[in-house]
C-alpha cells in the first residue's frame, strides 16, 4: 500500500468515523441516563432527512448563501432528531413501554419517514436522478487552506467542520459527565434511579432531557452523512441504518466513555474500509471484512466481561423503567 492509498484510507476512516461518533456520543448520554435506545439508526435517519429538507427548500426557493443553508439544515436536523427522541422518551419514561421494542420500532419508523420524504423531495425536484443540495453541502465540506499543506494538512485539516465538532462534543460530553454536578446526578439516575430519587433528583426530568439532547446529537450523525459523507445528496438505501447500528456497537466498544468513542470510531472506519486496499478480494470475502467492526466489538465485550472491572460495565439500571416504590 502506498502512502497516498493509506492517506485516502485514513481520510475515509475519519469521515466514516465522524458519522458513528456523533451517533455514539448521543447514545452514551442516553444510556448514562439508564435508557437503552435502539432507535439510534432511526434517529440518525431523521436527523439526515431533517437537514436535507431544510436545505432542499432553501435552495429550491433560490437560497444561495451556504452559511444560511448550513444554519437552517443544522437546526432542522437537530429538531427532527429531537422529536424522534421525544417520542421514545414519552413511550419509555411516561408510558414505561419496553425500551428495546420502542427503540427498534423507532428505527423502523425513522427509516420509513426519512425515505418517504426523500422520495417526496425527489418528486418535487422533477422525479429524475438524484436530488442534491450543492450550496448547503459546500458549507459542510469546506475546509481551511491548511488542508492543502501536504500530507500533514491532508491528514489533520482536510475535513469538514463537523469532524472537529464531533471531537469537541466527545470531549465536552466527558467533561459534563465526570466534572459537573448535573453530570454526576445524571449518572446516578442511570445507575440507581431509586437512590437518585431519594437524593432529591428529578429522575423523569433528567431522563427526558438526556434522551432529547442525546437524540439531537445523534441526529447530527445523519446530517453529517447526507451533507458531507455523500456530498449533499439523498439515497433511499439502508446505509444510515447500518451506520446507526455501528454507533450503538461503538458505545459498547467505548465502554460508555466518550473519549474512547473518538479513536474507536476511527478504528471502526479504518477496518470497515480496509477491504478496498486489500488486493484480490472476492465479493464474498469483501462482505466478511465489512463485518470487522462488529467482530472487534464482540472481542471487546468478551475482554471487558472477563476483566470484570466495575467502571467498564453498562449503567446498572440500563434498560429498566423506573417506578417510584409505592406501598
Amino acid at each position: 500500500m502506498t502512502i497516498v492509498q493509506l492517506l485516502t484510507l485514513i481520510n475515509s476512516a475519519i469521515a466514516f468515523g465522524t458519522v458513528i461518533m456523533l451517533g455514539a456520543i448521543g447514545e452514551i448520554l442516553i444510556e448514562k441516563a439508564g435508557n437503552l435506545n435502539l432507535g439510534i439508526p432511526g434517529i440518525m435517519y431523521l436527523g439526515g432527512i431533517g437537514g436535507m429538507i431544510a436545505a432542499f427548500f432553501y435552495e429550491l426557493h433560490g437560497g444561495a448563501s451556504p452559511v444560511v443553508g448550513l444554519i437552517l439544515s443544522f437546526v432542522c436536523s437537530m429538531l427532527f432528531a429531537a422529536l424522534g427522541g421525544l417520542i421514545y422518551a414519552f413511550l419509555t419514561i411516561t408510558l414505561r413501554a419496553n425500551q428495546n421494542v420502542t427503540g427498534l420500532t423507532l428505527t423502523i419508523f425513522g427509516g420509513g419517514v426519512a425515505n418517504f420524504f426523500g422520495a417526496s423531495l425527489n418528486t418535487l425536484a422533477g422525479g429524475v436522478g438524484q436530488i442534491s443540495v450543492p450550496v448547503t453541502s459546500s458549507a459542510y465540506i469546506a475546509y481551511t487552506p491548511l488542508g492543502y499543506m501536504g500530507t500533514f494538512g491532508k491528514l489533520f485539516f482536510a475535513h469538514g467542520f463537523m469532524a472537529y465538532l464531533a471531537i469537541a462534543l466527545a470531549i465536552a460530553m466527558r467533561y459534563f459527565l465526570n466534572r459537573t454536578r448535573t453530570g454526576l446526578n445524571l449518572r446516578a439516575v442511570g445507575e440507581n434511579p431509586g437512590t437518585a430519587d431519594a437524593a432529591g433528583i428529578n429522575v423523569t426530568a433528567y431522563k427526558y432531557l438526556a434522551i432529547i439532547v442525546g437524540a439531537a446529537i445523534a441526529g447530527l450523525g445523519g446530517l453529517f452523512y447526507t451533507m458531507d459523507y455523500i456530498k449533499g445528496t439523498w439515497a433511499n438505501d439502508g446505509t444510515i441504518e447500518g451506520l446507526g447500528w455501528l454507533a450503538v456497537a461503538l458505545v459498547i466498544f467505548a465502554t460508555w466513555k466518550p473519549l474512547n468513542a473518538i479513536w474507536g470510531s476511527y478504528l471502526f472506519g479504518f477496518v470497515y474500509w480496509a477491504y478496498l486496499y486489500i488486493p484480490g478480494l472476492s465479493r464474498r470475502s469483501l462482505e466478511l471484512f465489512k463485518m470487522l467492526p462488529y467482530v472487534i466489538t464482540l472481542v471487546v465485550l468478551i475482554i471487558v466481561s472477563l476483566r470484570k472491572k466495575r467502571e467498564n460495565q453498562p449503567p446498572a439500571s440500563l434498560g429498566l423503567s423506573y417506578f417510584r416504590e409505592e406501598r
Binding site: R181, A188, T195, A198, A199, R310, Q313
Partner: protein
C-alpha cells in the same frame, strides 16, 4: 420539661383499611438516644418514614425543635435537620464515597469534589469513621457503606438522626463500633432515634425506650429502669383471645425430620445453623422468629429450592412407610419420589401464582405433567378452579380472570386451595395471612386445621404471636438461623416466646 428535638402529636397513617400508625405521640428529647421498639409490623418504620419525608401523615402534627413543621419530601426533612439512615442503603455502587455524599445537592458555585472530600475527611476524623472519600462503594464492607450513609446525613447538616435497624447487617464488633459512634454524636449534641428489635442493644445504647405495638404507642421507659423482661412485656402486650378452634392432634407420627441442617446464601452468610427438629403428621407446627431469622431459607430448603450445605431432611412416607432423605433433590425429584409437598410461599404472585393467568391456568401449573399425549388436559384444572371458586368463596368474575387483579385475600385463597387440592403429606405456609382481613384469615386458619385433622403435617410460619399460640400445636422458635427453642404452644406464654425470639442459643448448649 426538657425541650424536644422532635415531637409528634396524634400522628396517624393509614394504608387503605390498615391503620399503620394510630394517633401516636412520640417525643425525642434534645441530645438523647431513643430506642423505638416493636414487633414486625408494629409501625416503627412507617412512623419514621413520616419524619424523613417518604410518607405524609394523614393526621397529626410534627414539631422540630418545638416549631411546627410540614415534612412532605426528603428535602423538607433535610432542611429541618432530620436525616434517616435506611435499612437498605441508597448508594450508587460505582461512585466514590464523596460522589454519593454530594449527590443531589444544589450547592453554589463551582462543582468541587476535592473540597467536598476535605469536608468529608474532617467529619470522618471527628467521629473516627474509617472510610476514605475517594473509595468506591463496591470496594466497601457493609459497615463502611452504612458509614457513608451516616456521613451523608451529617454532611447535609442533620442534627437529628434516625437509624432504621442499623445493626441487622452488622457483625457484633461492627455493632459495638456503631454504638460508639452514636455515643460520640450524642456527646456532640445530636439527637438520635434507633429502630431495633434486639433487646440487648436497646439496653446497651439508648437512654430511653419507646414501644409501639400494632400501630399504637404503648409508652416509654427510661432504659436504666428497664430490663429484657419488662421490655418484652411492653412489646408483646397481653395475649388476646382469638378463639381459633384447636382440636388435639390425632395420633401424631414423625413425618419430616430435620437433622443438623445448615445452609449458606450466595454471599456466603450462614442462614440456617445446625437446625434440627421433627414435624409430626397431624399437627400444626408453628415457626416463630423476627423477620429474616431463617424462616424463608428453612421452607425453601425443605421444598428443594435452597442449596443445603450439610444436614439431612428425612421424609417418612405415611403410605409406604419408607424413609427418604430430601437433601439434594429439586422440587420435581421430590414430586417423583412420591412426596406430597405443598408450599404456600410468602411471595404469592412471584413464587406461588402466575399473575397474568386466571385461576384455571394457575391450577394447570400443578397438573400439566399429568396429561397424556401432546395436549394438556384443561378439564380437570377447570373443575378444580370452579370448586375452589365456590367452596372458598373467591371473589372473581370468572376462572379466567387474571389473579393479579384479584384482592390479596382472594389470591391467597386460590393459592391455598390449589395446594390443599394436591392432598399433600406436608403443607408449608409462609405468612399465610399477611395483609388479609380478619374473615379471610379465619378461613385460612380453618383450612389449615382441617388439613391437620386429615393427618397432614402443617408448617405455619407466622409473625403474629397471638395467632401462633392459638393455632399451632408446637412452636419452633428461630433466632439468627438457630433454633432457640421447640415448645408446646398450649402451655408457653407469649412473653417466653418473645424472649426466645431475641435470645441466641448458648454456645455448646
Amino acid at each position: 420539661m426538657a425541650s424536644c428535638a422532635i415531637k409528634m402529636e396524634n400522628v396517624t397513617k393509614r394504608f387503605g383499611k390498615v391503620v399503620a400508625n394510630d394517633h401516636i405521640n412520640l417525643e425525642l428529647r434534645e441530645g438523647e438516644i431513643l430506642s423505638l421498639l416493636g414487633e414486625n409490623g408494629s409501625g416503627k418504620t412507617t412512623l419514621m418514614n413520616q419524619l424523613s419525608g417518604i410518607y405524609y401523615p394523614d393526621e397529626g402534627q410534627i414539631y422540630v425543635h418545638d416549631k411546627p413543621v410540614t415534612i412532605s419530601s426528603p428535602k423538607d426533612a433535610f432542611d429541618n435537620g432530620i436525616g434517616m439512615i435506611h435499612q437498605h442503603f441508597k448508594l450508587v455502587d460505582v461512585f466514590t464515597a464523596t460522589e454519593n455524599i454530594v449527590l443531589g445537592l444544589d450547592g453554589e458555585g463551582k462543582f468541587d469534589l476535592k473540597a467536598a472530600g476535605e469536608k468529608i475527611r474532617t467529619i470522618c476524623e471527628k467521629y473516627g469513621f474509617d472510610i476514605r472519600p475517594e473509595q468506591k462503594i463496591y470496594d466497601m464492607s457493609v459497615s463502611q457503606k452504612q458509614t457513608v450513609e451516616i456521613v451523608k446525613v451529617l454532611f447535609r447538616g442533620a442534627d437529628i438522626l434516625i437509624l432504621d435497624e442499623p445493626t441487622a447487617v452488622l457483625t457484633p464488633q461492627e455493632t459495638d463500633k456503631l454504638f460508639d459512634i452514636m455515643r460520640a454524636m450524642k456527646k456532640d449534641g445530636k439527637s438520635l432515634i434507633i429502630i431495633t428489635h434486639k433487646l440487648h442493644e436497646v439496653l446497651d445504647v439508648s437512654d430511653r425506650v419507646a414501644v409501639l405495638r400494632k400501630g399504637e404507642y404503648i409508652g416509654d421507659v427510661m432504659t436504666k429502669d428497664a430490663n429484657q423482661q419488662s421490655l418484652t412485656d411492653m412489646m408483646v402486650g397481653h395475649s388476646v383471645t382469638l378463639n381459633i378452634d384447636r382440636p388435639m392432634p390425632k395420633d401424631p407420627k414423625p413425618r419430616l425430620e430435620l437433622k443438623n441442617l445448615t445452609v449458606y446464601d450466595e454471599l456466603g452468610v450462614k442462614r440456617l445453623d445446625d437446625v434440627s427438629f421433627t414435624v409430626m403428621g397431624g399437627e400444626i407446627l408453628g415457626v416463630a422468629g423476627v423477620a429474616g431469622s431463617g424462616q424463608k431459607e428453612l421452607l425453601e430448603s425443605i421444598a428443594g429450592l435452597y442449596p443445603v450445605r450439610s444436614g439431612e431432611i428425612v421424609f417418612h412416607n405415611p403410605q409406604s412407610g419408607k424413609s427418604e432423605n430430601l437433601v439434594g433433590k429439586d422440587p420435581l425429584d421430590i414430586k417423583r419420589a412420591g412426596v406430597g409437598m405443598a408450599f404456600v410461599p410468602e411471595d404469592r404472585l412471584g413464587m406461588g401464582l402466575v399473575g397474568s393467568m386466571g385461576m384455571t391456568g394457575n391450577m394447570l401449573l400443578r397438573s400439566y405433567r399429568k396429561g397424556t399425549g401432546l395436549f394438556v388436559d384443561r378439564k380437570q384444572p377447570e373443575k378444580l378452579a370452579n370448586s375452589i371458586w365456590k367452596d372458598l368463596e373467591v371473589v372473581t368474575p370468572s376462572t379466567a380472570f387474571p389473579v393479579r387483579r384479584m384482592s390479596g385475600g382472594n389470591v391467597q385463597k386460590v393459592l391455598v386451595g390449589r395446594e390443599i387440592a394436591q392432598e399433600p403429606a406436608v403443607l408449608m405456609s409462609a405468612y399465610a395471612v399477611r395483609g388479609l382481613d380478619i374473615n379471610t384469615s379465619y378461613t385460612i386458619y380453618n383450612l389449615l386445621t382441617a388439613e391437620k385433622m386429615k393427618g397432614v403435617a402443617v408448617i405455619y410460619v407466622g409473625e403474629d404471636l397471638d395467632v401462633l399460640l392459638e393455632l399451632c400445636d408446637r412452636l419452633v422458635v428461630l433466632c439468627g438461623g438457630q433454633v432457640s427453642g421447640v415448645v408446646d404452644a398450649r402451655t408457653i406464654t407469649k412473653e417466653e416466646v418473645g424472649l426466645l425470639m431475641t435470645q441466641h442459643r448458648k454456645e455448646g448448649a
